[in-house]
């Protein structure tokens, strides 16, 4: 069973290599893309199953025992993230068939998506801090290439900001790694978890902790480090935006959770707790206000990513088992809902010919089912019951009230009404109001209606799959909650993790 751990990295890598060997067989690329992500989904479910029944699994790469080699670890949290990444990978692979044009496919679109998934999965799996850095680099370079794949000027402009600020993050990461290694002499997470409490002069650890927080804060796009996200996410092809929106920032959040539960504890770095609280409040507010101000569909949705990250940071700041569970539920809910909104925005663009809400309209009259499909993730994001977002919000708010964080809870509640406002803004503009450009009716929706039935199915099926996920995880919430609570308890007891990896001997 332990050997399966490497598959989430190996499967996309192998798939990408096969694709690169057959550069002109686009049909094969598409098929392989779907098959690979399907296989990933199966693997992650098997892993989740065995972690739930048998506890944390670990694999020492090359057979070199921890802390000398590189350890791959899956706990419940990793499994949840792997499963979500596979789900988004699968739906994106399908969606791409319908939406990405052949020119990009010839420019290695499909292998790049696989390599991006490889980086993401690697980050979720690794139990070694330097190895995490490597996976971040894989993610960074593949997302950079995906950003500029169409070669449009605005893509380069966005990508330069994206890469510069993310490289800044890498530099800070390396500095932090250096300090930590200098102090502890190891970068194995489980080993660190055991060594750090016994270290002399632990005060200096908080410097490393702050730097790690900044590093992952940039990746997670929190206030005031998020600039790269709204600068770039609206520029690439919408399928790329969708997978970025669903997964990339969450890897940052994953790392923050991993570092500040498994490795550092908030008790050892108390002032980080306050930083996180303030950061979360400002992230929620500035993100949603940014969204409210937008009329470009993708820009609006991009700012929203930031706002929702704020809720996750809030959960991390509180650190109670309920809060961390709420944070995980928020991540899971948000990955599905956010990606879905980007998928749907792509369909809206094909139907209306525009990203600008001022120039779109009348979709509900013509496509009522699309409207209802849109409402599912939109309302879930706004936390309307009984969809998944409501439960995530409920859990986080309850944890906040238990921790008596009145101010932050009020902010979270106000932001949720603004979220509703901005989702209704899309609904009002794109779906309800009459089509503002009624003159050239012939132009409208031509792009969509020109597509083959197969392509249309490929566009709409992922949206339906994710909407079903949002509905089912809302109506049948109990198992999701139990899973998240289990993962949270596991995270907050760092001993379990260390024991599973090193056998308990530092």
């Amino acid at each position: 069973m332990n050997r399966l751990i490497i598959l989430p990295v190996l499967v996309p890598l192998t798939t990408a290599l096969i694709m690169l060997l057959l550069p002109r067989r686009i049909a094969v690329h598409r098929l392989l893309g779907v098959l690979s992500t399907l296989l990933l989904s199966v693997v992650s479910v098997i892993l989740l199953n065995s972690v739930l029944s048998g506890g944390i699994l670990s694999l020492q790469a090359g057979g070199w025992a921890a802390p000398f080699g590189i350890t791959m670890v899956v706990d419940t949290f990793s499994c949840i993230m792997l499963a979500m990444a596979s789900l988004i990978g699968l739906t994106t692979a399908i969606y791409s068939i319908g939406s990405v044009d052949e020119k990009q496919e010839h420019n290695f679109y499909h292998p790049l998506i696989q390599l991006l998934l490889m980086g993401i999965n690697g980050a979720f799996l690794t139990g070694d801090i330097f190895n995490l850095y490597v996976w971040f680099e894989v993610m960074l370079i593949s997302s950079f290439v995906l950003l500029v794949l169409e070669g449009k000027p605005e893509q380069f402009e966005g990508a330069i900001k994206y890469v510069t600020l993310n490289l800044l993050s890498s530099a800070i990461f390396l500095a932090a790694v250096g300090i930590l290694y200098g102090m502890a002499g190891t970068l194995n997470m489980a080993d660190l978890a055991m060594r750090l409490p016994m270290l002399e002069h632990r005060e200096l650890l908080s410097v490393a902790a702050v730097l790690f927080l900044i590093t992952f804060g940039i990746k997670a796009a929190v206030f005031p480090l998020f600039f790269w996200l709204p600068a770039s996410y609206h520029t690439p092809h919408v399928a790329v935006s969708a997978i970025f929106a669903g997964l990339l920032t969450k890897v940052g959040v994953y790392a923050i959770i991993r570092f500040f539960t498994t490795i550092f504890t908030l008790e050892s770095t108390p002032f980080i707790h306050h930083i996180l609280l303030w950061v979360s409040a400002f992230t929620m507010v500035t993100g949603v206000l940014g969204a409210v101000a937008q009329y470009d569909l993708r820009k609006l949705l991009s700012f929203h990513i930031i706002s929702q990250i704020g809720y996750m940071i809030f959960a991390i700041a509180i650190q109670s088992p309920l809060a961390i569970a709420g944070g995980l539920l928020f991540i899971v809910h948000n990955i599905a809902a956010k990606t879905n909104l980007f998928y749907l925005s792509g369909i809206i663009r094909l139907l209306s010919g525009s990203w600008n809400l001022r120039q779109i309209g009348g979709l509900y009259a013509t496509y009522p089912l699309l409207g209802l499909l849109f409402l599912v993730p939109a309302l879930a994001l706004a936390g309307i019951p009984p969809l998944s977002g409501f439960w995530a919000k409920l859990t986080v708010i309850q944890a906040g009230l238990e921790a008596q964080q009145w101010l932050a809870v009020s902010v979270a509640l106000m932001v949720s009404i603004l979220t509703l406002y901005s989702m209704i803004k899309i609904w009002n503009e794109a779906f309800l109001k009459d089509n503002p450009l009624s003159g050239d009716e012939g132009q409208r929706g031509r792009e969509y209606h020109g597509l083959s039935a197969g392509k249309k199915t490929a566009l709409i099926a992922p949206a339906i799959i994710l909407a079903m996920f949002t509905i089912v995880s809302g109506l049948w919430f109990e198992p999701f909650f139990i899973l998240a609570k289990g993962a949270s308890l596991e995270l907050l007891d760092a001993g379990i993790y260390s024991k599973a990896v090193t056998g308990g001997i530092p």
């Binding site: 010839h106 420019n107 309302l379 019951p385 109001k433």
Partner: protein, 767 residues
């Protein structure tokens, strides 16, 4: 009851499909659903009236204490009967009324979801389950108000209602969670007897304020009342159903439901009483300047909602009984009158009271139903409205304090309601017929049946209160009060003060009606200054939020990479320096470093080349200084015994310089765009980073690094890794996974370059 709710949602989901097939007679099909519910609830009547209650519970999210718990007692049954009965009248009515609308199938989906959620709300015995239904009613109300979504005013009003009730909903959610933290359960029947525990909790004031915020926004109490008249943008069946008979009473239901558990304190009673009284009087006076049938009815609804809240605030046995009678009376007559207004609109094409008159000949049945309902609304004997008003007055007169001002307010408010009744229920039918946009004629049976039945029921209950409501009244009041009850409700109290007040109300109402044209000439009544209008508070809050949003986004996301970099660097530097400062307080061991000649020389070279790099105006010079800097760093690696790293550095630096020189000639002329103040700022920040990193390194290296890893690698390299070069073995064996990742990075970079070249040159793909 879970089955009932589930069936409700399923039936709503298939309604649009059925509507497509049976468009013509869909009203008759749709009405079966609320009727089925109504008779289902009615069959429970004897059981509940006898003092029993029915509770069902299935786990939903037991880990969070959320269950599908439903409770059928006097209070919830009363509401359920109103919801399903008025629902039946409205569904049937809509069958004819909505025919002209596009997408009427959707209408049935929305209103079906609404009815089911509303039933769920009043039946729920779990606070969070109640909240789920609460939000569902808010959202279905949003969809229904905005049903004519082609109109901007429709969309705006719908959004307003959603934001106001949704905002209140969030307060309610927080209140429920706090309440749950005090009681340890969300099951209402489980904390039924915990009044003392709840009211003595430190969180009690917060709980009360939050719950009441939810209730007041939903039930359109002052100052949140403004969304309700605007909600009249909805098709009339919706106004009749949601915005008069059912949804706006959800907040009142909540107050009634929780009265026993968290009420009884001055905070609760007074807040509820005062808010209700202010709403009652204030909104009634606003009715003066209305001319639209539906708006007139909306303001009278607001006044009634205020009265109902006030009665709960009074909280005596008589007040609670008055509450129930008034609630039932209002649902019956207001449902009728709204539907009548809809009929008039449908048949004549206008809702302006100034343009309507003499319709009794063309629409005799409608006129009769309207008259019957109007008498009830005015409180004329022997209709249920009369009993309602009598009991309300009696309950107020019983009060020890505030009795006098309250009775004055109630009489004034009711007089305004009488005026509205005269305008809506009588004026369109009396006098000489006027020209209307459409030739008036009697409405079809589907539109007559519902309102007529409701009106007649108002008469029957008024005549035989014992038979219809007495027993249930006892039970419902008991659910709220839990004291032994003693009072009995009768139609005729004899000649007394209350009866005199009733007459005064009618007279005053007639007077207002007569004076209305005169009063309206004074501009004070036709438009209030914006400062006093809560609706303009909402408008400015929304506008202010939007402009602030634009401003903050312009400032934050300003488009300049250099600004982003500065912010991020400072965001890292400031907290990290703070952490370092605190650490330095504790540790304060800066080790003694002896610096060799080589090191000093190299440091000097690096500093000089850096200075040249940033001051030079020639690109070539800058690149050369960069190269010098790189090579010096490489030499440091040599000094510290890492020749392989040094070699790599040299190679990269050489390549860098070559590449730069190649690119150089393609670049535009060098321009100095930055101001010197900016350069100084940047220099300060950069030096800050430099100083910080230096200090950190000094600190970090003052530790005794664990050499375990180093020793292991050195020892295991040859026997285990089969390699003499330890670094190589680390790269390709001990940490091979890192190398795999880095190779992948290079591959992706190569793919990217290839893809960009292909895009740039427009060549077709090549293997």
């Amino acid at each position: 009851m879970l089955g009932l709710i589930a069936t409700g949602f399923l039936a709503s989901a298939i309604a649009p499909v059925l509507y497509k097939r049976y468009r013509e007679n869909f009203g008759w099909i749709a009405v079966l659903f609320p009727l089925y519910m109504f008779f289902g609830f009615l069959s429970r009547y004897p059981e509940i009236a006898a003092g029993n209650s029915v509770r069902e519970s299935l786990p939903w999210v037991p880990s969070l204490g959320i269950n599908f718990s439903f409770l059928l007692d006097g209070l919830s049954l009363t509401f359920a009967l109103i919801i399903s009965l008025v629902g039946a009248a409205v569904f049937l009515f809509a069958g004819a009324y909505m025919k002209g609308y596009r997408d009427a199938g959707r209408f049935y989906l929305y209103i079906g979801v609404f009815m089911t959620s509303m039933l769920g709300l009043v039946l729920a015995d779990n606070m969070l389950l109640l909240f789920v239904f609460w939000e569902l009613t808010s959202f279905s109300s949003y969809l229904l108000i905005g049903f004519n979504h082609h109109k901007e005013s429709s969309r705006k009003s719908a959004l307003q209602a959603l934001l106001v009730t949704g905002g209140g909903g969030l307060a309610l959610l927080a209140g429920i969670l706090l309440l749950g933290s005090v009681t340890g359960t969300y099951e209402i029947s489980s904390f039924y007897d915990m009044n003392r525990i709840i009211t003595s909790s430190a969180l009690y004031p917060a709980i009360v304020v939050l719950l009441l915020l939810g209730a007041f926004t939903k039930s359109a109490q002052f100052p949140f009342h403004f969304w309700l008249p605007n909600a009249m943008e909805a098709p009339t069946p919706v106004s009749a159903y949601l915005h008069s008979a059912t949804m706006v009473k959800a907040g009142i239901y909540l107050i009634a439901r929780l009265n026993h558990e968290i009420g009884g304190t001055p905070l609760w009673q007074d807040t509820v009483l005062i808010t209700g009284a202010v709403t009652m009087l204030f909104t009634a006076t606003l009715a003066f300047r209305q001319t639209d049938l539906k708006k007139l009815l909306a303001y009278s609804t607001l006044s009634v909602l205020g009265t109902l809240v006030m009665l709960l605030g009074i909280g005596s046995e008589l007040a609670i009984k008055a509450f129930f009678i008034y609630l039932i009376a209002h649902s019956l007559y207001k449902g009728t009158l709204f539907l009548v207004a809809g009929t008039i609109d449908h048949e004549t094409g206008t809702r302006d009271v100034g343009k309507l008159a003499g319709l009794r000949k063309a629409m005799p049945v409608t006129a009769a139903a309207a008259a019957l309902a109007s008498f009830s609304m005015m409180g004329v004997i022997p209709l249920i409205g009369f009993i309602g008003k009598e009991t309300v007055y009696k309950a107020i007169l019983e009060l020890d304090r505030w009795g006098l001002p309250l009775i004055g307010a109630a009489v004034l408010a009711n007089a305004c309601v009488v005026m509205v009744t005269l305008l809506v229920g009588f004026r369109p039918f009396l006098g000489k017929a006027k020209e209307t946009p459409r030739q008036a004629h009697e409405a079809p049976l589907k539109m007559l049946l519902g309102p007529s039945l409701l009106a007649v029921l108002g008469l029957l209950i008024g005549l035989f209160p014992d038979f219809f409501i007495s027993a249930m009244l006892e039970q419902s009041a008991r659910n709220i009060l839990s004291e032994e009850l003693s009072l009995k409700i009768v139609l005729w109290h004899g000649f007394n003060l209350v009866l005199i007040l009733s007459f005064v109300t009618l007279l005053l109402g007639g007077l207002f009606y007569a004076l209305r044209p005169v009063v309206l000439r004074y501009s004070f009544f036709s438009s209030l200054p914006a400062l006093f209008k809560p609706s303009s508070w909402y408008e400015s809050a929304l506008k202010g939020m939007l402009s602030f949003a634009k401003l903050q986004t312009l400032i934050l996301q300003n488009g300049y990479l250099r600004n982003y970099t500065i912010v991020i660097v400072l965001a890292a530097l400031i907290p990290a320096s703070f952490a370092l400062y605190r650490a330095a307080e504790e540790v304060s061991i800066i080790p003694d470093y002896s610096i060799t000649f080589y090191e000093a020389a190299l440091g000097l070279i690096i500093i000089i080349s850096t200075g040249l790099l940033i001051t030079s105006t020639s690109r070539l010079k800058s690149i050369v200084s960069l190269g010098v800097m790189g090579f010096s760093i490489g030499i440091i690696f040599v000094i510290y015994g890492a020749p392989d790293v040094a070699l790599t550095t040299f190679a990269i630096e050489t390549l860098n310089v070559i590449l730069f020189v190649l690119v150089l000639q393609k670049l535009p002329k060098f321009l100095k765009l930055s101001r010197s103040s900016n350069r100084i700022r940047d220099a300060v920040i950069a030096s800050g980073i430099g100083v910080f990193m230096t200090l950190v390194v000094l600190f970090a290296t003052s530790f005794n690094i664990s050499t375990e890893l180093k020793e292991y690698f050195a020892a295991a390299s040859l026997p285990e890794g089969k390699g003499l070069n330890v670094v190589n073995v680390i790269l390709v064996d001990f940490r091979a996974l890192d190398t795999l990742g880095e190779i992948t990075v290079l591959t992706i970079a190569a793919i990217g370059v290839l893809a960009m070249l292909k895009t740039a040159t427009g060549r077709k793909a090549q293997p």
